[in-house]
């Protein structure tokens, strides 16, 4: 290595690294056994039946290795650097934003704000938009199917804004009661905040209809897409939602990154929330002016590798095909419902007319934690408890459920393993 400055500039775009993993699952629709080979966790944990993707999905080598490669070859802080390494890093970070824009079919990359996850996304909307625009008596309408992330932020700003939290109930089938939802809409409703797919039961909500109804009443709508984004093709313009959030770690990307989408003119009108570097235009001790979105909402050094890793994950699932993923999840959900329905003494928690990717199980007489422990002893990883949806559990009269959730690497054998383990648990406990 010589230090005499020679003018061989650093390449602006190094060639893709040699060890780039192959995507094996892409040919002829989605072959979950092939997809599984893209996920090193299964190689390192032989026999693992992973049915907890709704809590967090595993990561393909395409994400793990490319993020490592990014740190090896292109890392530097973004935005403020003049030198080329930093420009390259910035390009990749802003390129990730464009990848997300395409994934959601947003009109502009400026409508994409990187956050830590769905939780921070909803908190950002509450603390920025909510604190600025909600008046005493204004109503925020949620549903009984919400995750705590879409309940607690509204409670936290309730006192300061005077908002009223209104809850639309589920019907007997476990789906949203659309008539009751509509009946709760009024001119006082300023925001409808609903999940796209209920994480505790798998119910899909008719968010297009809910968006139309919300807008007819002059309300904005926030859609929590945590569980939907990994399973359904999502088009924020077709949905016509005002806000959409999802988490990277549930969509086969790294932890620490998520997305808040908001319509450009709404974002432009929102005051900043967190303050710091990168989100300012000019600072004096007396007065500070702020950048335009999305930078106004990204204070401090962002999770650069997280954003880039998320983009790799989205590239990966786009390569598999989002239609193919949807079809796979539908098919496997159907197989799961059929299989579990045949087991005596096992009850599926109802999920309305349309369930996807999540099978929430109640075995009367066996506590969910005991059930999950026995399943774990059979290498079947599921989640047990309230799934951050305590109010829904209260409504259903359950202490909790045992939840199996599906991902692109699951196949019918995983469901069969689940069924066998459930039978073994029943034998033990009854």
């Amino acid at each position: 290595m010589t230090h005499a400055p020679k003018f061989s500039p650093l390449p602006n775009n190094p060639p893709p690294f040699a060890g780039a993993p192959k995507i094996r699952g892409a040919k002829l629709g989605l072959d979950p056994r092939a997809v599984k080979r893209d996920f090193p966790i299964f190689e390192h944990n032989p026999g693992l039946v992973f049915l907890d993707s709704a809590a967090s999905a595993q990561k393909p080598a395409a994400v793990i290795d490319h993020v490592a490669e990014f740190y090896r070859s292109d890392y530097a802080n973004v935005h403020r650097g003049v030198y080329r390494l930093s420009a390259r890093s910035s390009d990749r970070y802003e390129g990730a934003r464009e990848t997300v824009r395409k994934f959601l079919n947003a009109a502009s990359a400026d409508e994409i704000v990187f956050v830590r996850g769905a939780t921070e996304g909803i908190n950002l909307v509450a603390y920025s938009w909510g604190m600025a625009f909600l008046q005493p008596g204004d109503e925020v309408l949620i549903t009984e199917l919400e995750h705590h992330a879409n309940i607690v932020p509204w409670q936290l700003i309730r006192e300061r804004t005077g908002l009223k939290l209104i809850v639309a109930p589920i019907d007997a089938s476990g789906g949203i009661d659309l008539a009751a939802f509509e009946a709760r809409l009024s001119r006082r409703t300023k925001l409808v905040a609903v999940t796209h797919l209920a994480n505790a039961t798998g119910a899909i909500l008719p968010v297009e209809t809910m968006a139309r109804l919300a807008h007819e009443h002059g309300a904005k709508i926030l859609v929590d897409g945590c569980q939907a984004a990994p399973r359904l093709p999502v088009d924020v313009r077709a949905l016509d939602c005002d806000f959409y959030v999802f988490s990277g770690h549930k969509i086969y990307g790294p932890t620490g990154i998520g997305v808040l989408y908001a319509k450009g003119e709404i974002l432009e009108a929102m005051p900043p929330w967190q303050g710091g570097g990168d989100m300012i235009e000019q600072v004096t001790f007396e007065k500070t002016t702020f950048q335009h979105p999305p930078h106004r909402f990204e204070a401090g050094t962002p999770d650069i590798s997280g954003a880039i890793g998320l983009a790799f994950a989205l590239d990966y699932i786009e390569a598999l095909g989002r239609g193919a993923i949807f079809a796979h999840e539908e098919e496997l959900t159907g197989y799961g419902v059929d299989t579990l329905s045949r087991l005596p003494g096992i009850r599926l928690v109802p999920a309305g007319q349309r369930r996807l990717g999540i099978l929430s199980i109640d075995v009367p007489g066996i506590h969910p934690h005991d059930l999950a422990t026995v399943l774990d002893q059979h290498h079947v990883a599921v989640r047990a408890g309230h799934h951050c949806a305590q109010p829904l559990m209260d409504k259903l009269g359950l202490a909790g459920t045992t939840r199996a959730s599906l991902g692109i690497y699951n196949d019918e054998r995983d469901i069969d393993s689940l069924a066998a383990a459930l039978a073994a648990a029943q034998k033990l406990f009854t």
Partner: protein, 156 residues
């Protein structure tokens, strides 16, 4: 470890048919325990006579592990002095968390033996909380008197 090592017959039996599962109207001390992870709740009732535990009971809802553990606890602690109860708690806690078990008075050896079926949770870190929920509530009841302050069992 297989399921039967954790869920031994004695656990399953106490899980299904918990002993001393009732309110204690004459309780001198009580406390609620709550495991926020799973929403399980237990209330432990104590009747103290000086520094001796005259009677002891519990109610609430929980998994097989936490129910069996509460049930065994009430059996073992009934009639003990507070010092003995404390020694048993320390011993049990060390046992289920896989820490070095302190030397206990010989008189308590048999009681420790009766708690031994719960040792299996050691291999299930997330279940240790279930096994210790009632014990933490017991400790809190001693501190609280009859006030019934909620003692939230924390992650071990």
């Amino acid at each position: 470890m297989d399921a039967r090592e954790l869920y031994q017959d004695i656990i399953l039996d106490h899980g299904r048919h918990p002993r001393n599962f009732r309110e204690l109207p004459q309780a001198t001390n009580l406390a609620h325990g709550h495991n926020p992870l799973c929403g399980d709740r237990v209330t432990v009732y104590l009747e103290l006579d000086g520094d001796r535990i005259k009677d002891l009971s519990f109610d609430g809802r929980g998994c097989a592990i936490s129910t069996a553990s509460a049930s065994l606890m009430t059996e073992v602690l009934k009639g003990k002095t507070l010092a003995e109860a404390d020694a048993l708690f320390k011993g049990f806690h060390a046992e289920v968390t896989g820490k070095a078990v302190p030397r206990l008075p010989d008189a308590l050896a048999e009681d420790m033996e009766r708690l031994a079926p719960l040792e299996g949770v050691r291999a299930y870190p997330t279940r240790v909380k279930c096994a210790t929920l009632a014990w933490h509530a017991f400790e809190a009841a001693l501190k609280n008197g009859a006030a019934g302050t909620v003692a939230t069992v924390k992650t071990e």
